[in-house]
Symmetry: D2
Subunit: 371 residues, 4 copies
């Protein structure tokens, strides 16, 4: 039987190096004073967060933002801090040539340039021994008529096929969907339906990554998670929270019950369907527009732990009975009771057992004050 | 080259017999005085609409609402009025046993009952020579924990497999998705992603039907249509319009440009990808809560014709050039100009050429006044 | 200083008699076997719930559904069960003449009929000594052009003015807003802006009632509550929960953190702005489409208590300090910690102190089994 | 009686100088090569657009972006190009001190700084003889607990009161609402309800400006416009279009029927309620992220003209009759017929009569090619 300590001991979340770059909105970027100057500073900043959290040894890195001349040196720098690289994230949205798309661009030369960068990132993945190539494309259109959906889709798949084949053996290509932004009429991988179709066409290495903020209003995200699990193509998560659009807020800050329901699907996926919790990737992807960066990452991580620890409390057997009997009141009560339970003591006890600081936020703030 | 007359001559929309039943909301149903008493009255009412429209010879029928003891007599009744049955729509949502679902119900005996009704409907389909079995399930849950998504999905596929195998040769099973209502937490086929997965599991006879009102706010429906076309699984449409939820308003009454963009994908699907416009099913599915029923069906049909006739005006070659050149202004202008064109004269001329009443609404109202 | 026991001791929620009528959606109504046959049965059913809850002595009643020939007898029937009538809810949406509206109908005779019913309800309010006349109008249009917004608004205010003047002294007219359903293009009181304007025009007796399900996706309901408080026109709540539209689910079943944030505004309203928690009306308004009715009301009530008890834990002084210092992390942590606290022991202790059953759901179910 | 030529001759739209600054999203900004280097370049660029349009002599200017040492010189520069300044738009969202707000900031010194800038802008307004001070505040919070809604609201009103009093006589303060972005939990003026309350508290000079993209999904914007007209506080529009969030696309590019319905309220406001079309302010406010800037402004302007010219075609008398008779089909048909009419010839004829280029987009592109 799964218990909290077992599950918590297997749960790891990757920290994004870009979490220590300046972040903001189209209306401006506020400097909090905790931005790092370069990739080494960003790695140091993640190491500092990991020193307080203990459960975040992985890094999600962004290229070319984190590119260096000496890849072996970078790998050593990461390793020396007790960290590892989880995901390599290419960037095909900033360069001026990507104005109308990258992998789905109407012009072959732009697609070729995007493919070249993706293949470079596969090479980086190999050098940094990262198990995941995590792909998000800003590709889409702003106006009806600007591009043909099917032509763009076919072009994208054609670009991705050789990239998938080039992946290091055993590694995974994550495909991320998003309904809008920065494209405001259509996005080439707009929803999980499009993502799963694309993954099917690209090949067995392709999985779907769920960014919690990439859904239309009302979307039942936990249902999407379950359906993706069912296909065997659920590859991971970008954790954050939203109220309106892709707000990239701290996980659990707006809808902690929703986060709980998602983690319950993951725990259930292990209990009922044999998918180990740790067989997919978890990374934070948030935008600390007005708050301190390290603490924001810590709050998100703790919110995920709380959701997970509560999810473990759900008695699935009892729930299945209630479902069989059509007892809607009882099934709802079972979930409620699990969620109402205060799991902070459980998590604190687990953290002590691992030798990790019991209160990571206070530990981090204290270190910074000393620092 | 496609021209308006060619396209219009191949475009048929099926009328729903339930369009002449009392319709309303959970807050009440207003009688407009144009409700029909039984299936024969409903067929007569559809025939009256078709006498004015000319392009709506098909019927979408709902069972057991339209069930009779004498199926041959019913088939003859339809045929004698110059009509044909396009789609058979089973009902697995009204009976008290379906409180917690039908094909995805947790209990095997309820699923068996639902399957039995579906198989009966296949038999009806055979007797009425209807090319489509059109399936919409109200199945879902109202609360987290009430049911397991994956267990329910697997149960549903198991129920549908023998139904698909039982279909008359050459006929099509349409699967309809809907995000919510009447289930308010999750629906078992919630979106096109779930529909396409279900269709893949059920077999080659299964296609996806798009009800224009069954989307979350902001969803790009024309993109969904194009993606479904790409899979070869686009099976048809339930036409209506929405502003908020599944409002089931007259087609084109809220967003005529959106309707145009959808029909443009269909015309393009024929022009660029060889999918004949008439290779899928079109049916009206609307709820005339406060207005006269026949006229509402006529307005919807005409709105679809206008959208189609405007879509034909789009010069796809020119658009592809603009796309290649990255000329967003030009591509947008091309679509705008097509949409701004007044196609009423074109449609009127086409209707005269077919010997159909030029203004179907006035014709219908005049007939009613005489009648 | 406010403490949980003090606040809980002043918190009362009214039960809706219509909560024991058959409830469903436009697709059908499932009988749960716990429907009451008439107004006396519905009052008995509410009394049974109150026997378990202790904090729900008030009734929200609906007319003409709850109309009787002998009003004094009805008042006595209520009183004899230890109950009281909190709100009188007129019904101007079911009668066939209300197809195109009631108080905002284009025709004067329909408006007059609606006004007559409202004035009858004021009389009922007087007879039943109910402090609130709670008005929700289904008025609106389904299509652009169907009605003129301003003409309809002016007509509505004209109808309401004499009703407001006729109210028993000291009593309150509650105006409820709703964005859509059953009207699907516009609703005459669509949002809190329209409600506050209408209240300002109708007079000092008019307040705004917030139904938690009557908002567009993403609306910040707690902000609306605070703004209404600021105007002095916040009159009460219809408690329920939603994921998509006006889903009328059990309170706190989808978004318990949102419920907490709303109650925090109410507690803060008392702490910082002197508005006593009990100076407004709270009523349940939910639709138990697939679950047992009494238990659903009990779960909603308990969810509200939990939200309230957690809200009391928020240290507003500390929060104000964090706000002043611009410490977003600290302010968020303060709210989180309050919400994460398990208040079930506090509530249980309070309930014991009142002589109320500690676990109202188990008590209710046990009574029913005996009964 | 209103006719198209009369109405078109009175309709003016202001061009935003910031329309020629680099524009983009938080993911990047693409240079189109048509950005202007400074305020004089931006004015020249607007003059070039106006040379093609003829109906856009007004400028909406943004400060400090458009600030200069020599205000008289700036005024002359504008005047010499046949332009005038319509609106002064202050900026209280970019400076680092505005991280947590400006006029609603918790700290008095930040509010004082914001007020100082607003008063400077009033002075600029006086120097440039601009009739409108157009205020949009990015103020809001990203997390529950970060700020107290009522305290922030009160602070904002306190800041605005002296600004309103300082306004040049006869000029208008426009208050803009927006549900989210860049604040992702709450915005201090989130909707028209909050805007109208703020305007009521700030005084008679304050009006509400409607940005078409600043609404939650499904909001009925034309209803909001009518309600604002009813209060006498409708002050103007920021024209653009949206599909998801505040997408700032070309007007009419996504929902031309919606634009028509808004202009119909304005025409009706003049016909039935005596509010002259030109008594409020119209300005473009869009973000040409992937397209050429001048052409995008031209397409928006023409879309507004088309909407207006179609709105004039609606026979309000006939509509009122249909409304009175409860004829929903007829009322809808009247609107449809107006919208289906091709008004391009009417507009072209009107433009010729004014001596303006008949096809402003072609004229503009030809000038640029020459230029």
């Amino acid at each position: 039987m799964l218990d909290s300590a077992d599950v918590l001991s297997r749960f790891r979340i990757a920290l994004p190096t870009w979490g220590f770059s300046p972040m903001g909105t189209r209306f401006g970027t506020f400097r909090m004073g905790d931005e790092a100057a370069d990739v080494f500073g960003r790695i140091d900043a993640c190491a500092e967060v990991q020193a307080s959290l203990g459960m975040t040894p992985g890094l999600a890195m962004h290229f070319p933002w984190d590119s260096v001349p000496d890849w072996a040196g970078l790998a050593r720098y990461v390793r020396d801090r007790g960290l590892r690289v989880e995901a390599v994230n290419p960037n095909t949205f900033e360069d001026q040539i990507y104005r109308l798309g990258s992998v789905a661009h109407p012009q072959a030369e732009v697609r070729a340039k995007a493919q070249e960068h993706l293949l470079e990132c596969v090479e980086i993945q190999r050098r940094l021994e990262a198990p995941y190539l995590s792909l998000w494309f800003a590709d889409g259109t702003n106006y009806p008529g600007q591009g043909d959906f099917r032509r763009r889709h076919a072009a994208m798949v054609e670009v991705l096929l050789p990239v998938a084949r080039a992946l290091p053996s055993g590694s995974v290509m994550l495909l991320e969907y998003k309904p809008f932004e920065p494209a405001f009429y259509h996005t080439d991988i707009a929803d999980w339906g499009a993502a799963i179709l694309t993954a099917q066409e690209v090949g067995p290495q392709a999985r779907v990554i769920v960014d919690l903020g990439h859904h239309l209003p009302g979307a039942n995200v936990e249902y999407t998670v379950a359906m993706l699990q069912h296909t065997g193509r659920l590859g991971g998560f970008h954790l954050n929270n939203r109220k309106y659009a892709d707000d990239d807020l701290i996980s659990g800050s707006i809808d902690p019950y929703g986060l709980f329901l998602i983690f319950r699907e993951l725990v259930k996926g292990e209990r009922l369907y044999g998918r180990r919790l740790e067989s997919i990737s978890y990374a934070l992807d948030q935008s600390a527009n007005v708050e301190a960066k390290g603490p924001a990452l810590i709050l998100s991580t703790m919110a995920a732990c709380e959701a997970l620890a509560k999810a473990v409390l759900v008695d699935e057997k009892e729930l299945e009975e209630a479902e069989q009997q059509g007892d809607v009141i009882r099934s709802q009560s079972i979930l409620r009771e699990a969620f109402l339970t205060d799991v902070r003591p459980t998590i604190a006890a687990f953290r002590r057992s691992q030798g990790w600081p019991e209160d990571p936020l206070q530990h981090y703030l204290a270190q910074r004050r000393k620092g």
